[in-house]
């Protein structure tokens, strides 16, 4: 009996420790998410009478061509930037995992882009891409590679790839660090045994390294995908969604309605974004399990 009381006491005490976090989750995550869901079924427009509208906002969304334009841009952005970041991150991680003399310095350098706030790095890239005084054009014209400066952000394709390059620069370090952690968890003797069995470098990589870092790869992939899905600051600073709305990401599309005063519609966009993120996460987790099962 005494022991049971003790156990209850301990549960109580641990509840107290968990409470701040729980409060944090409820106040800053759960309530806003639910609130957004509730707002999304209202026609909540600043200058009109608020009224219940069920799926009205969602219906409007489904018939809005610029929603599809943003959806297309966002998915394309994920499809192009995330694989590049993961592959580059893997390469950097493999290099850094080798005992090089300046490894510490290299690791610190690699982290610099990741440590810079996104809005600041976007501003930096804006200064690089700027037509009249941007670094890229100054270099091109000084080296006489092109007769005229290039308007990097002036075409749909140009703006898209400019954003991808800036994003890859900024977030590859993140992927590299996560993958590096995975690499360092692999016991050295596994490679020794592989060598004894006569495995060459490629076989050691594909049969030992890759399967063992797969869990961290999935984590990196998941983090990067979700992050890319809600890309905002980079696009907002670099192109503001232009030219002609070609680079409006989904979160920018939704944000616009918030500042325009249509809160119900903005919330509906957020909910769609949330569902997309949820769907992608589930897909990744499923995929990683399935691969484990057949291997």
């Amino acid at each position: 009996m005494a022991m049971r009381n003790d156990a209850i006491g301990r549960v109580r005490e641990s509840l107290i420790y968990v409470l701040p976090l729980l409060l944090f989750v409820v106040v800053f995550i759960l309530i806003p998410v639910l609130g957004t869901g509730v707002t999304s079924v209202f026609k909540d427009i600043a200058f009109l009478e608020k009224r219940f509208a069920l799926f009205d906002n969602y219906r409007t969304l489904l018939y809005d061509p610029s929603f599809y334009q943003s959806l297309r841009f966002t998915l394309l952005f994920i499809a192009v930037s995330v694989p590049v970041e993961i592959v580059l991150g893997l390469v950097f991680a493999l290099i850094l995992n080798h005992p090089l003399p300046v490894r510490g310095v290299l690791r610190a350098c690699l982290l610099v882009p990741w440590a810079i706030p996104a809005a600041v790095s976007a501003r930096t890239w804006e200064l690089i891409y700027n037509y009249s005084y941007g670094l890229a054009n100054v270099m091109l014209t000084k080296l006489k590679l092109t007769g005229e400066p290039v308007n990097w952000l002036g075409t749909e394709r140009g703006a898209f790839f400019s954003i991808v390059v800036a994003d890859v620069w900024k977030t590859t370090p993140f992927a590299a660090i996560i993958i590096l952690a995975g690499l360092q968890a692999i016991p050295e003797d596994l490679y020794g045994q592989a060598r004894v069995d006569g495995a060459n470098a490629w076989q050691r990589f594909s049969k030992v390294t890759l399967p063992l870092i797969k869990p961290v790869l999935v984590v990196a992939l998941l983090f990067r995908t979700i992050d890319a899905l809600r890309v905002f600051d980079l696009v907002y600073v670099l192109t503001r969604g232009g030219p002609g709305g070609a680079t409006t990401s989904l979160s920018m599309y939704g944000y616009r309605y918030f500042v325009l005063g249509d809160f119900g519609y903005g919330s509906a966009v957020s909910v769609v974004l949330f569902l997309l993120a949820l769907g992608l996460s589930i897909a990744y987790v499923r995929l990683s399990r399935w691969r484990t099962a057949i291997m």
Binding site: A46, L48, Y131, G154, G244, G245, V259, L260
Partner: protein
């Protein structure tokens, strides 16, 4: 153990409440943005106000960009925050702000203090500041698009007067650009605002209306896909891609300040900008000091030149807890002396008409007399609560056309279709005009 946990919780909770400490009685927050020089000027003015009234004014510094300034106000107003108490609003937002119930009616204050409303531009008050029979704002300064031109260059290449039609402007530009580029390869004929933002709409309206088009038809209904507008948009695109008299970054980077700096560095013959650029062009470090003149914007053959009505109005937040001292600030800023100071100090065009007759102002800015006419005939943007949505749609399609991503006609008809959907969602036709 239990005790320390409790103390920890108490401590963290107390941290949360520290932020809500007491508030000073006679202090208000005034949100204002603009170029760095303008903000300095406001600070000076408000120092004077503090000494006069004993009311401390905290300036909430906002950026230059109009859209960002609106966002900076919508967020606190939407959440019913008590500050900023007083703010400046672009003419284009007033309908939305007032329909949202964010603006304190000023009628009683005006009556109590016996303010002469006749001193202000009458047309402005009735079309912009009077919403549903109530006065919700007062004009601080008026804006309209102007053509700035390099007097010295026109004279050097044998032109006696500024261009009256857009075709003349292109002709002058091509000729002068070719000559000047021999010494300055970065030189362009004509710079204007083509980036995807509100300024693009102001420019579009000027091109379109000076071609006999516009975004509202005679009955005040929205209509975009008409021959005059298509022609104007095609001309805007041609300025960049065909005549090549406007720089290729017109549609990606050119907003007011970018345009002003470009021109001020001596890299352009013509500039479309608001009156604020005048005083800056005349500063000592300006490469075009003393070489600039202004003229009405050109028009298409058969059309007449037109300026989009712009400008900033002052209002009091409905959520302000200090409305009466906020009014003192509004009264101060819209007073004759301060309006005159704004004119003399920043070259702004006051919202009070009586200042235009002031001998000191006339002596300093002879061009003010002609400006009065420009402002009285300026073309307002549709005054509807969802104007920003409408503008966003148009910006996207017009900017896409300038980028060469689509043709003028399908772009305008796509924009029109989207605006029809907005109309369905946000209200009826009766709110137009």
């Amino acid at each position: 153990m239990r005790g320390s946990v409790t103390w920890f919780l108490v401590f963290s909770l107390s941290l949360v409440t520290v932020g809500c400490a007491g508030e000073e009685e006679r202090s208000i927050t005034f949100a204002v943005g603009g170029a760095p020089r303008e903000l300095e000027f406001w600070e000076e003015l408000l120092d004077g106000f503090e000494q006069l009234s004993g009311i401390q004014v905290n300036i909430l510094r906002q950026p230059t960009d109009t859209d960002l300034r609106r966002q900076g106000l919508v967020v606190p107003l939407r959440s019913g925050q008590s500050d900023p108490d007083v703010f400046l609003m672009d003419v284009a937002w007033i309908a939305q702000f007032s329909s949202s119930g964010w603006l304190e009616p000023l009628d009683t204050y005006v009556e109590e203090r016996g303010i002469e409303l006749d001193a202000f531009f009458r047309g402005l008050l009735s079309s912009i500041d009077l919403r549903g029979g109530q006065l919700v704002a007062l004009p601080v300064y008026v804006d309209g698009g102007l053509l700035y031109y390099r007097e010295d260059l026109l004279a050097r290449y044998g032109y006696e007067r500024p261009p009256r039609t857009w075709n003349e402007l292109v002709e002058y530009s091509i000729h002068v650009q070719e000559q000047v580029r021999e010494s300055n390869p970065d030189f362009y004929g004509f710079v204007w605002q083509g980036a995807q933002y509100e300024g693009l709409i102001c420019n579009f309206i000027e091109f379109a209306v000076s071609n006999g088009g516009g975004i509202l038809d005679d009955g005040g209904k929205f209509s975009l896909t008409i021959e005059e507008n298509i022609g104007a948009l095609r001309f805007m695109r041609d300025l960049i891609h065909r005549y090549r008299v406007s720089p290729p970054n017109t549609f990606t980077e050119m907003r007011e300040e970018e345009v002003r700096i470009f021109f001020q560095q001596g890299n352009a013959l013509f500039e479309r900008n608001w009156p604020y650029a005048w005083a800056l062009h005349q500063e000592d470090h300006s490469a075009v000091k003393g070489r600039v003149q202004i003229a009405p914007l050109p028009h298409f053959p058969g059309g007449k030149s037109v300026s989009t009505l712009g400008g900033w109005h002052i209002g009091i937040s409905k959520y302000s807890r200090k409305k009466s001292i906020s009014w003192e600030l509004v009264e101060f800023i819209t007073s004759y002396e301060i309006q005159k100071k704004l004119a003399l100090g920043l070259g702004w065009n006051p919202g009070r008409m009586d200042v235009y007759g002031d001998s000191e102002v006339v002596k300093r800015f002879p061009h003010f007399t002609t400006l009065t006419e420009v402002f009285e005939n300026a073309y307002p943007r549709p005054i509807i609560p969802y104007y920003t949505q409408l503008s966003e749609v148009m910006q996207r399609h017009i900017n896409g056309t300038l980028a060469g991503e689509c043709e003028p006609e399908p772009a305008l008809s796509a924009a029109e279709r989207e605006v029809m959907r907005l109309e369905e969602r946000y209200g009826g036709v009766e709110t137009w005009q």
